[in-house]
Subunit: 341 residues, 2 copies
């Protein structure tokens, strides 16, 4: 940490203590308010700090305190609007507790996640894993390190970990119910990342959907992007489905774009239903029927759970947030010709 040329000269606590003519211990006490100090000295310290422009070195503090004052967040994809909104809430909670936020992105690569988390654990007091794609075994291994971790949007049966997620099954069940009620009998589901737990949860809902007479065919389209939706939609048209469900709004929007190009009317000929309710769309032309996730609450609660974990080692029960069906313009009764079949 030597003074490199062109770098700011490092002002240390001992510079301050010299200038204020007190010990470093006293400076520390004044700055942290950890003990009572003679007002005269307090004044001198503050003056010196101001004059020298002293800022405590975060690494040194972290080392001495045994706390980094930082939490880490892993997300699969920053380009997916879902995550920045969660990050926003997390960041705000973290800041309220005087912590910084480190962000890492795996770019949907499960293989990368492990080392990223490992790295986060080396420099953060606690880690938030958002929708981790990694295998159960890897996850178990990481959680076993006893480093504070909160799992977001992934539930691992058998592992007792503080976690919070969204009731995807419930959300998708509402979607299915909505379609069934409109009279749909056959639908296709454009899936998301195969490694995604959230994807599996959505699919689970389809079993129950049979009960109310809706048969959903799962179509893997690989990614959670609009491009994937765009590409996947055409083959679906050749089947006899009357509605398309999707992994998320992005996929749905991609599908809609392609349908428009193909001249397929939505919802007259085909209903399209999104998932997540990305706020952008509410106000855009694509007035998508979808189910909404309380992303802000999700991030906020996740941050709070982690914080609680960091101060006392209280073990929160896994939480699940409900989703809300938003019926808008892209869902309607099945097309005539389909009904006639």
């Amino acid at each position: 940490m030597q003074n490199r040329p062109g770098r700011p000269p490092r002002i240390t606590i001992s510079d301050v203590s010299t200038a204020a003519n007190v010990s470093a211990a006293t400076v520390s006490r004044v700055l942290n308010g950890t003990a009572k100090v003679d007002p005269v000295l307090v004044e001198r310290v503050h003056d010196a700090v101001r004059e020298l422009g002293y800022r405590p070195n975060a690494a040194a503090q972290g080392l001495a305190r045994g706390e980094w004052g930082t939490i880490g967040v892993l997300v699969p994809d920053l380009a997916n609007p879902y995550f920045p909104e969660v990050l926003k809430a997390v960041s705000s909670v973290a800041r309220a507790h005087g912590r910084r936020m480190m962000v890492m992105e795996s770019d949907e690569d499960p293989a990368l996640e492990y080392e990223l988390v490992e790295d986060l654990m080396r420099c953060c007091d606690g880690v938030l894993l958002c929708s981790p794609r990694m295998s159960r075994a890897e996850l178990a291994e990481l959680l076993d390190r006893k480093h504070p971790v909160v799992l977001v949007n992934r539930i691992v049966p058998g592992l007792r970990v503080p976690s919070i997620s969204v009731d995807f099954v419930g959300g998708m069940t509402q979607v299915c119910g909505h379609l069934a009620q409109l009279g749909h009998r056959r639908a296709a589901y454009l899936g998301g990342p195969p490694a995604s737990w959230a994807n599996g949860e959505r699919i689970r809902a389809f079993e129950a959907a049979r009960a109310f007479g809706l048969d959903v065919t799962v179509i893997e389209c690989g990614a959670a992007t609009s491009q994937a939706g765009y590409d996947a939609v055409e083959p679906v048209l050749r089947s006899d489905v009357t509605a398309i469900l999707t992994y998320n709004d992005l996929v749905a929007l991609g599908a809609m774009a392609r349908l428009r190009e193909l001249g397929v009317g939505v919802p007259e000929e085909l209903s399209v239903i999104g998932f997540d309710d990305i706020s952008l769309e509410r106000v855009a032309h694509a007035n998508l029927t979808t189910v909404s996730v309380p992303r802000d609450e999700l991030g906020r609660r996740a941050g709070e759970i982690l914080e609680r974990l960091l101060v006392n080692t209280s073990d929160d029960e896994p939480l699940s947030l409900p989703m809300t069906l938003q019926v808008r313009d892209t869902s309607g009764p099945p097309a005539r010709h389909a009904e006639e079949k």
Copy 2:
């Protein structure tokens, strides 16, 4: 850093050195490859590391090395899709250079920015300021600390700082040219955050636009959100403009949503033009005419400039990236009745 109950027992380098029966110095040398070590010892060290599950403490490394291995990024608003895309690129570049990324968000509050940056400087090797809203004076003060900083999307005349930005003036000039060519004579501009440099740049383009016969009225609508666009659009209709320019695509989409509600045809009755080209929209129903920003390149280049700044103290020249006009479905010739006036 004592072993708190329920926390992972801290494995330190000296645990490893004991287990491997070598000195801590040797362990460090093996792990960092900073010096040649007897293969036998190397083997013993690796075994011990694996067995104990040792991970070097990042704070201690940072302190000893005088480098945190971290870069900081400040953004005004994570919910604005613009920034996560930049972050994505930055994060990737950072990682390629073995650094982590700390993210802070000011939530569009200029007053908060100063302390956030100060905090970033205490724990990051370098800082990326994305579209900082703070005053020139504050900015100058921070830059004066000689801490490596790269300015993104803000140019401060007179301050010599490595910076990269987008040629907003050029982009908006293209927009104006496009409209003028279509025959428009009067337009309204729905502005963004007043403190935003980028907003000022866009407005600068309107002076030149007079030259080709387009008169643009600036309307402050406060924020860069779709809601702001939604709210601002109605009064505009009472004026005689034939086109609406916007601070960004979000504002444009908000305006479009309101126009649709009001039954105003786009582009038949009114042209609407966005800014930024948020990729989501390309594929959504709102096929917005806009100008695109190379966000990925912006983030990547910014990260690289910072990295260069961190290794040698080379002073890059301020860079400016060009924008590209994307003519799509929301711009057209002015409405008949407007022409007749």
